[in-house]
């Protein structure tokens, strides 16, 4: 990782005083994770460039890792981009190597501290992860702070250009401002770009970084993004166990799923479809007279919370296959803080629709809201029997997207499903013939209701089937 700072103001070599590093020396500094080198490829009165070369020990990273256990799989890997990218390690190095400059101290020439300089900064390389980014976030972070931003996006592999570009950029920033201000910006913002691969030497680091934002972060248009990304470092143990099973195919299936959930919500949000869907399901469940209800595939418990608001339901149980989702649900429902009597109304179950499960017996009603489309069609049969033959709630409410409606979503490319994990999306006819056959096979009757705006031509965005045991 290389950070160069070029001063092209008159008396350019003042940069040496500000950085407290002599332009004619190559200096090395020891850091807990490796070394930093400072040297000047050029130093003249009209142009002076200081390089900070970060020399991270890749083996040490893995072997001497501190920090929360279970955090971050990529630090378990020797094959790691950390030695090459600007990350929180760079922030640590900046604080250590350019500490005085960062906090605006210059004993020899104090007048320089607040003097704006013509500065050019290059960083090789900056990781910038996010939805098919072309470096937009880099501009969003630096342009509001009056930098001109140039980025070069690098391909993943020159031999396999079809793999496209990776998350790495060479970045050049130009601005006229005091050096300490610029260093502060780099110190705070470069780790933000690194996003979810952001690993902390320790937790206080987060506080320190945010403290550096005083005075400018408040007014920054991307303030929310910046702080959110700092707070996104928590990981759970279960996630690691799961991750070990899915290395080849997906690097983190849970994160994927969450990202896709967001994507689906974004597509559907102009309709506030999720709210309407939940309202319709609650209405159907209430109408059935059910007292004990079961949300199969409860995910993070959004619907559970609505169900708990209804006094009619004496027991509200949610089941999901993802432990991480259940952890979220537990937090969302604040289960640890509910009074006993309320707490007893809620049950969270880790389970699966692919297996018969006796814990699901004895409920008055069950709902599967936007669940079946996440199952591979050949495995639907297992769900059908688990729910309708064995759990056998007298009422089953089931919703799924109506694919015909997809043409009405402006942001959804034609032919694409609403969620990347959807294994299918059905037309009204497909859903109804499946549901009717299913009902008949297991002795239920079924009626169909639209959810959301009912378009004359393509129907409603969500379709709902209410099954009642005959």
């Amino acid at each position: 990782m290389l950070l160069t700072i070029t001063n092209s103001s008159p008396q350019a070599t003042d940069l040496g005083y500000l950085l407290h590093k002599h332009p004619d020396k190559v200096q090395a500094f020891s850091l807990s994770y490796g070394k930093a080198h400072v040297f000047y490829p050029e130093s003249s009165s009209d142009r002076c460039t200081a390089c900070l070369l970060l020399d991270i020990d890749p083996v040490g990273l893995v072997r001497n890792r501190r920090g929360p256990s279970g955090e971050g799989r990529s630090l378990d890997q020797y094959v790691n981009d950390r030695p090459y990218v600007a990350s929180s390690f760079l922030s640590v190095a900046l604080a250590k190597v350019y500490g005085s400059a960062l906090s605006g101290r210059c004993n020899d020439k104090p007048q320089l501290i607040s003097t704006p300089l013509d500065l050019t900064v290059t960083v090789d390389v900056v990781p910038c992860r996010g939805a098919n980014d072309d470096g937009q976030v880099i501009r969003e972070l630096f342009e509001p702070l009056d930098y001109t931003v140039e980025t070069v996006h690098h391909p993943l592999d020159e031999k396999f250009l079809q793999w496209g570009e990776g998350p790495y950029f060479s970045v050049t920033l130009r601005a006229r401002k005091p050096l300490s201000e610029m260093l502060t910006h780099l110190y705070v913002l470069l780790p933000v770009l690194d996003n979810d691969k952001h690993y902390w030497v320790d937790k206080d680091e987060v506080e320190k970084l945010l403290a550096r934002g005083e005075g400018w972060l408040q007014g920054h248009p991307a303030k929310e993004l910046i702080t959110n990304r700092y707070l996104r470092y928590q990981r759970s143990l279960t996630r690691d166990a799961l991750a070990r099973l899915t290395t080849e195919e997906q690097v983190d299936p849970d994160a994927d799923a969450e990202a896709h959930d967001e994507q689906e919500e974004a597509i559907e949000s102009p309709l506030s479809l999720n709210d309407q869907r939940h309202a319709a399901v609650v209405a159907a469940l209430k109408a059935s007279g059910a007292k004990r209800v079961l949300d199969l595939g409860c995910a993070q418990g959004k619907l559970l919370r609505r169900l708990l608001d209804e006094r009619q339901f004496e027991l509200v149980a949610g089941m999901d296959v993802s432990l991480r989702a259940l952890e979220h649900a537990e937090r969302r429902l604040k289960l640890d803080r509910l009074p006993d009597r309320q707490r007893q109304r809620v049950q969270l179950l880790h389970g699966s629709l692919m297996y018969r499960d006796q814990r699901l017996n004895g409920f008055d009603a069950a709902c599967l809201v936007e669940v079946i489309e996440h199952l591979d069609p050949p495995r639907l049969a297992a769900m059908e029997r688990a729910v309708f033959e064995f759990a056998k709630s007298p009422t089953v409410v089931l919703t799924t997207p109506n694919v015909e409606y997809n043409v009405r979503f402006e942001t959804l490319p034609a032919g694409q499903y609403r969620h990347r994990d959807h294994r299918f999306e059905w037309t009204r006819e497909q859903f109804q013939s499946w549901a009717t056959e299913l009902a008949e096979r297991f002795g239920y009757t079924v009626r169909f209701l639209p959810v959301g705006d009912n378009d004359a031509e393509v129907g409603s965005p969500t379709q709902m089937g209410v099954f009642e045991h005959a």
């Binding site: 290389l2 990776g166 060479s170």
Partner: protein, 857 residues
């Protein structure tokens, strides 16, 4: 007095405090067999005499009794039990577990009790306590029988207690010591001619003598065999009396055992004068018996009356009952057990033919004993969860069937006529679950209890493989969200440990250690197989879709599947998958694999190339990404340092040289992974390299050596298109220097050309060393390849020295447990065990894979 106790009973001691119950219990029973209320008082309160904690103490007592009886352990209750309400609860628990309650009453003079208590300092309660207890006891002693106690023994004096002996009696149904072989015969219903034909077919010699007083039979069994009748000898058929004569003769001569059927029992009630409805063919029987003399009729009554509800044979491995029997009732005796044996379980509803709807207990059966039964006619006997119904409706024009045990062979003879009209046409029964067998239909849905939570799985290779709860949870998630239809998943490959770390400069792994490992395990000869760098894949290939349906119970998913080491379908593109499978099938067709191995399906352990086909995401997000980041960061650094060097000389030059070395390493790293990537545009870009032919019909080929496996895989490669690829291999005698050197050379050449490395295996598939199983294989990866694992610069001495510290123990333990589970899964599958038994093992492998272990090994 001799006290005869059923071997499984709940012995309830009844008597006042001080009457000698505890000493008696101590003298006649094992220390754990006796549960005492005082001891439970002590457990919950620290004080054996604390009467205020009685409720808690008795809750505990009852709970212990429950657990013991559930596990089938004789239990003695040491409490006063003087009031009927005390005993009611015990009788209820005994009944719930189908265990016989036995009462032993200590009617000892009050004085003796007082004296005893006086000598015990902790029992300083007044004399009224014993008096009250005694009078309460005496008041109700007569009611014991009514309360449900079948065996009652009473001691009147201390002498009687001291003189008593106890004897444990096996239950009538306990024939565990009888191991067979057996010929178990289905419902005869008076079809005597067919029975004789069947017996002859089974090798029994039947001699009929027509005497004045009727037919007499004499039956000689084939060597050592015993016939077992599942009941329903009578009613409906043409020769009921003859059937009875034949079976009774065999029974009397010890040639046959017989359990009663519901028809037999109904006949018995009729013959004893009970008012029963003359329906379902009873009229036929009565008409025949009327022609027989009174002696015969009496003999029939005696015979049926003497029949025991069911038998447990062969150390508990075989159970025979007329209508089948659930696990919790096997080997137990109670009215309910008898009811179940005779009638099965019904749901209380009736079907359109007015017949009671039967609850399909066999679909839920989880027991380890094989259950053979009859009662409901079926067109063909079908195995379901280790149970089989062999009533093939002979009297309705079907056939009479016998099951040979332990051979599990079915022998049938067709009915000579249709003697009765079934109330519902039983031959259409098979329409019910359509195209799938009963077992496959049941296996459509697995039960969570078969995989969830902490599990201990017994395997042939390793006793008791433990799967931890949190690992099972992770596996549940992966299995549910991503895995293919579990019916396909008959195996998951185990993880593989590398060889011990080499101490040679520049090398982290080297063949020398692999060879040494096996030599130290006592293995003289190993086979080195080229390790392809792709993704592990298991391929199931059937000859056609019918085989997929019949053998795997999978419909509409093609002729097979290719799945990953985590049970996920390898290809999203089904057409591509099926095209690949057809290539493999074609290869098998040409090299006559199906005929040579007598199979129409096979399970192959393979590597599928290119790596980039499956690991695209991993490549993009990690391997190529690191290459890209490094390339540009290092290029910028080198450029800056080159400029600096011109200005500053030596100090910058050193750093420059360092960065240039890093550039070279990164280049080597990129080249290493690029070897394993190429674009896949069509089937012809894929390469499937099988290296184990794991299983075919009836056989898990773990008894063959790797030469055999390699030979078959080679044959497939030679006879198949380019898509099916061979695996280079090389044998090494690990005791011979020159052979060792040749092996190392072979590896160097292989890895020098960009190969990942090799896998070293003992020649035999399974090897046991001094300390249990040996590793089935260890891998030895090439120097360049390891850059992908340990980082581009790992060969730098400063890195390499630290990397040598790595522990293989955990990985090796895991590899063995997963290996044992994988083989167990295959063996259970080829034995046609229910899917849940196979799935349990496969699920276990997946769960173990989520154990934290150094991912670089």
């Amino acid at each position: 007095m001799r006290i005869d106790l059923p071997e499984l009973s709940l012995v309830t001691l009844i008597g006042a405090t001080g009457s000698g119950k505890s000493s008696f219990a101590r003298n006649h029973f094992g220390p754990f067999e006796v549960v005492s209320s005082d001891f439970c008082r002590g457990l919950v309160s620290n004080d054996e005499n604390d009467q205020t904690v009685s409720n808690e103490a008795f809750d505990l007592l009852h709970s212990i009794i429950h657990q013991r009886l559930r596990l089938g352990r004789l239990t003695v209750v040491d409490a006063t039990n003087v009031r009927p309400e005390d005993r009611k609860h015990l009788v209820r628990i005994a009944r719930e577990h189908h265990v016989l309650p036995v009462a032993v009453v200590f009617d000892i003079p009050e004085k003796v009790c007082h004296e005893r208590n006086a000598s015990r300092p902790d029992r300083d309660f007044g004399p009224h306590v014993i008096r009250n207890q005694r009078s309460a006891m005496k008041r109700n002693l007569r009611g014991l029988k009514r309360e449900g106690f079948r065996h009652i023994f009473t001691f009147k004096s201390v002498e009687e207690v001291d003189a008593a002996t106890t004897e444990r009696q096996p239950l009538w149904n306990n024939k565990k010591a009888v191991t067979g072989p057996f010929d178990i015969i289905g419902d005869v219903h008076g079809c005597c001619s067919e029975l004789i034909t069947l017996l002859n077919a089974l090798g029994y010699q039947v001699t009929e003598t027509d005497r004045e007083d009727g037919l007499k039979f004499q039956v000689t069994p084939p060597d050592g065999r015993t016939a077992v009748f599942v009941g329903d000898l009578v009613d409906r058929g043409p020769r009921v009396a003859d059937t009875l004569k034949l079976v009774m003769a065999m029974h009397a001569d010890g040639v046959a055992h017989c359990v009663p059927g519901n028809h037999d029992v109904k006949l018995l009630r009729k013959l004893r004068g009970k008012n029963v409805q003359i329906t379902h063919g009873l009229d036929v029987t009565l008409a025949e018996l009327e022609k027989e003399d009174a002696d015969f009729n009496d003999a029939v009554v005696q015979f049926i009356d003497g029949l025991v509800s069911h038998y447990v044979y062969d150390n508990g491995r075989l159970v025979v009952a007329h209508a089948g029997l659930i696990q919790s009732m096997q080997g137990r005796g109670s009215g309910k057990v008898r009811e179940f044996c005779l009638y099965g379980e019904t749901t209380g509803e009736t079907d359109e033919f007015g017949l009671p709807i039967r609850y399909n207990w066999a679909a839920e059966y989880r027991g380890s004993a094989m259950v053979v039964y009859g009662h409901t006619p079926v067109p063909e006997p079908e195995w379901l969860n280790h149970t089989i119904n062999i009533d093939t409706g002979c009297v309705f024009g079907g056939k009479l069937t016998a099951l040979r045990y332990p051979e599990k062979e079915l022998v049938s003879v067709d009915a000579e006529a249709m003697y009765a009209e079934p109330a519902k046409p039983f031959l259409d029964e098979d329409q019910k679950h359509g195209v799938l067998s009963a077992q496959h239909a049941v296996d459509d849905v697995l039960d969570l209890t078969d995989v969830f939570g902490k599990r201990i799985i017994d395997t042939r290779l390793q006793k008791a493989v433990t799967v931890r709860e949190e690992n099972a949870a992770a596996a549940l998630e992966v299995m549910s969200r991503f895995a293919a239809n579990p019916k396909w998943l008959i195996y998951l490959p185990p993880t593989m440990s590398p060889c011990e770390t080499s101490e040679r400069p520049e090398f982290l792994e080297h063949p020398e250690e692999a060879f040494t490992y096996y030599r130290n395990q006592g293995v003289p000869r190993v086979i080195c197989e080229q390790k392809h760098m792709g993704s592990r894949a298991v391929a199931i290939v059937c000859r056609n879709e019918d085989v997929a349906r019949e053998r795997f119970g999978v419909v509409g998913e093609g002729i097979g599947i290719v799945y990953t080491r985590t049970g996920r379908r390898f290809f999203d593109d089904v057409e591509l998958e099926q095209a690949l499978l057809h290539e493999v099938r074609a290869a098998a067709d040409t090299c006559r694999l199906w005929d040579d191995l007598g199979t129409d399906w096979m399970c192959l352990d393979c590597e599928l190339m290119p790596w980039s086909a499956k690991a695209q995401e991993l490549l993009r997000q990690q391997y190529a990404a690191v290459g890209s980041a490094g390339r540009h960061a290092l290029a910028a650094s080198v450029a800056a340092l080159t400029t600096a060097q011109a200005r500053m000389g030596e100090p910058a030059a050193m750093l420059l040289a360092d960065m240039q070395t890093r550039q070279d390493s990164l280049k080597a790293y990129t080249t290493a992974y690029q070897h394993y990537c190429w674009p896949v545009e069509s089937l012809s870009d894929l390469r499937l390299a099988p290296f184990h032919l794991l299983a075919t019909e009836k056989q898990a080929h773990v008894d063959k050596d790797h030469r055999w496996h390699m030979a078959w895989c080679q044959k497939l490669a030679e006879h198949g298109s380019d898509v099916v690829m061979g695996t280079a291999c090389h044998e090494v005698d690990v005791t011979d220097e020159s052979s060792l050197a040749a092996g190392m050379e072979w590896w160097l050449t292989l890895t020098g050309e960009g190969g990942e490395g090799m896998v070293v295996k003992p020649l035999d598939f399974i090897v046991r060393g001094k300390r249990g199983l040996s590793q089935p294989a260890v891998k030895c990866r090439g120097r360049e390849y390891l850059r992908i694992i340990y980082g581009p610069e790992y060969t730098t001495p400063v890195h390499l020295d630290r990397l040598r510290a790595r522990g293989l123990g955990r990985k090796r333990g895991l590899a063995l447990r997963e290996f044992a589970l994988g083989i167990e899964a295959l063996e259970r599958f080829v034995r046609r065990e229910p899917l849940r038994r196979v799935h349990e093992c496969v699920f276990g492998v997946l769960a173990l894979e989520s154990e934290p272990v150094d991912p670089r090994l």
